[in-house]
Symmetry: C2
Subunit: 386 residues, 2 copies
């Protein structure tokens, strides 16, 4: 097991009808900016619940934060924060709204030239404007971690930021919000959370017995509840387990003391950039090829995953490892998520070369848990995913 540090100060408020509790979490004298996305919260009742909980506060609103939170839009919100002397931010949404709010938390207290520097200069945010979240779409885990990804259309960039100052002070997780999420989004959320676990787990054995079992626990739970959540998102128990699994998948706990991969995310991001494919679906496209290409390096963990998560008992290590890849691909497909690039675009020729070139240009010469995944290898993996 590797040496590690772990600290996660976010307060989770989990359960039925808990949105009203935000009233007790925000300082009485706060001037609050409530941030949200395209407005679905006005249809499903969440907006009304939040407004009721905030009735005794001085509150302004900023709606319209898009999926892949866009810098230009966020800069408009930042102007409101400064002009109106906002002191507390409340994100009401999924990963994009929460990530955008994290950027604003950092930018509000940033004293450099332009807030974009936070992303390009990889400035670690030690202290941000305090903020809380009301989660409306389980998937990214952003409600209990300190990272964010921000997009800038103008320069076609998608960059990450973070730091200990960017943990939400609180996050409200009411599984009842899942009832109104469209099936496609639910499938994406399940796939996203499942992928987060795989990136932190599917590397090589390092004797982190408890972290492995926790990762397997999340995978098993997602597999168990996925068909139920898709079939009936109003069924509370499955919704609750789905929601808590998504949070635990990327709140830092399971990655402590172990190597991590994240190469699938790096490749997947490019498929979103090139073709606008939903983030989760890009991961489902890349995983099978990535695991087949890196079979020797990952087969021990793949076999362990086959045995413990998929109950594969037959065959030797190679057989089990291969079965694990097939089971994983079939799981994504069971969520009606296609796992080949050609199922999303007819125009896929040259994609592998383009992504490989981009990685080379950025100096990304060795991704993955062994830092040995070169742009040449990336090209082969993406080609296998056609």
């Amino acid at each position: 097991m590797n040496t590690f540090e772990f600290k996660n100060p976010t307060k989770i408020i989990f359960g039925k009808d808990t949105i009203k509790n935000i009233e007790n979490e925000i300082p009485n004298d706060a001037k609050v900016l409530m941030l949200y996305g395209g407005g679905s919260i006005k249809k499903n009742g969440i907006y009304d619940q939040v407004k009721a909980a905030l009735s005794s506060f001085d509150v302004l609103e900023f709606g319209g934060i898009p999926a892949n939170p866009e810098y230009a839009v966020l800069m408009q919100a930042l102007k409101v924060i400064k002009d109106e002397n906002i002191t507390y931010l409340l994100a009401v949404g999924g990963g994009s709204v929460i990530d955008g709010t994290k950027f604003l938390s950092s930018a509000a207290l940033f004293d450099g030239d332009t807030p974009w520097d936070i992303l390009t200069d990889k400035i670690r945010t030690e202290k941000g404007m305090p903020f809380g979240t009301v989660l409306t779409l389980p998937a990214t885990g952003s409600e209990m971690n300190s990272g964010a990804v921000i997009t800038r259309e103008e320069t076609k960039e998608k960059l990450a930021m973070g730091g200990p100052g960017l943990f939400p002070e609180f996050s409200v997780l009411d599984p009842q919000v899942i009832a109104s999420i469209p099936k496609r989004q639910l499938a994406n959320g399940i796939t996203d959370a499942f992928s987060h676990v795989l990136e932190q787990y599917m590397t090589y054995p390092i004797g982190a017995l408890l972290q492995d079992r926790f990762a397997e626990s999340i995978l098993q739970t997602l597999i168990e509840v996925a068909p139920k959540v898709i079939k009936d998102p109003t069924e509370y128990t499955s919704a609750a387990n789905f929601m808590w699994s998504c949070t635990m998948a990327l709140n830092g706990l399971i990655q402590k003391g172990v190597p991590t991969d994240w190469a699938v995310h790096a490749m997947g991001h490019e498929l979103t950039a090139l073709y606008g494919i939903d983030h989760a679906r890009t991961l489902a496209i890349i995983f099978p090829s990535h695991y087949k290409f890196n079979f020797e390096a990952k087969k021990e963990k793949l076999a362990q995953y086959a045995e413990r998560v998929w109950n594969v008992t037959e065959g030797n290590t190679d057989d089990k490892a291969y079965a694990a890849i097939e089971k994983t691909e079939a799981f994504f497909q069971s969520l009606e998520i296609d796992t080949k690039l050609s199922e999303y675009t007819k125009d896929y020729e040259g994609t592998a070369e383009e992504i490989s070139k981009r990685f080379t240009d950025r100096g990304w010469l060795g991704l993955g848990e062994h830092q040995d995944l070169s742009p040449e290898k990336v090209e082969k993996i993406v080609k296998m995913a056609y």
Copy 2:
């Protein structure tokens, strides 16, 4: 799944040679009181490592905090804190030293009549003097939670305290400390952590799928590493997994959203009070009887535990549940921990009646996850444990 809140702000610093890192965690201008127990840290090198890490600080020491931290001793430490204007506490020890330090953290800022009121009046500590810990004995989980148990010899009382102000700011977990722990203490630590999980898990199914699997993960890991740690406590990987499992067993995570029992601890505490039996061993005495007596109420979870943790595949629910009890008892015995009261004292007659009477006198009329474990039932359970 029940509604819950979860917040745990303690920073964990885990791994080889991490004691030196405490230098970066304590404010430069702090006046530190270093607290420890009977002095074993002076023999195993931990004392020297801590002193070296604190070389640039103004540090006083207070040694001699006993197992079951004693109020009278702690009051002497409190006098030092006040007389010397201490601003930061550093516990170097196991659960007793850390619990004692939590009491001091609270008492140092307490403005009531006498600090004992914190315990008798069940005063929740919202803010304490900041403190960190260097864990020398994995077992209680006190290094990552906000609870403490304090003993007062004068009045034969053993009372609990806690509150959000009593999380350690940081805890250093260097698994190398395990190398010098005597076998008896290692067996106690394993049993204590195992018991913590059982108290939070062995109740009834409530659809908390992930919490159940996390609990089972800790149990499986403790079972896997126990013989290795006992055989060779210098073997790092097993020591690290043992240490992290003990912390995760009682840092709040697995109890969120589920019913908990804790009746075994209540009965066990009395066996310590009456006969001075090590805390962990009292739990091993009570568990089998408790589970047999409450078989109908607990058999579904007992059977799940049998299947998932002990790989019991034969028989019906009752058969599996019964096998689980036998496996658990055999596990404790494999650690050379006796599971009958008569193996600890010849003078056990009347114990059950005495404990039952104590519970009645205290008004403890309904313990356990169903609040239906009466003093009459307690009497029967303890008698079964003779």
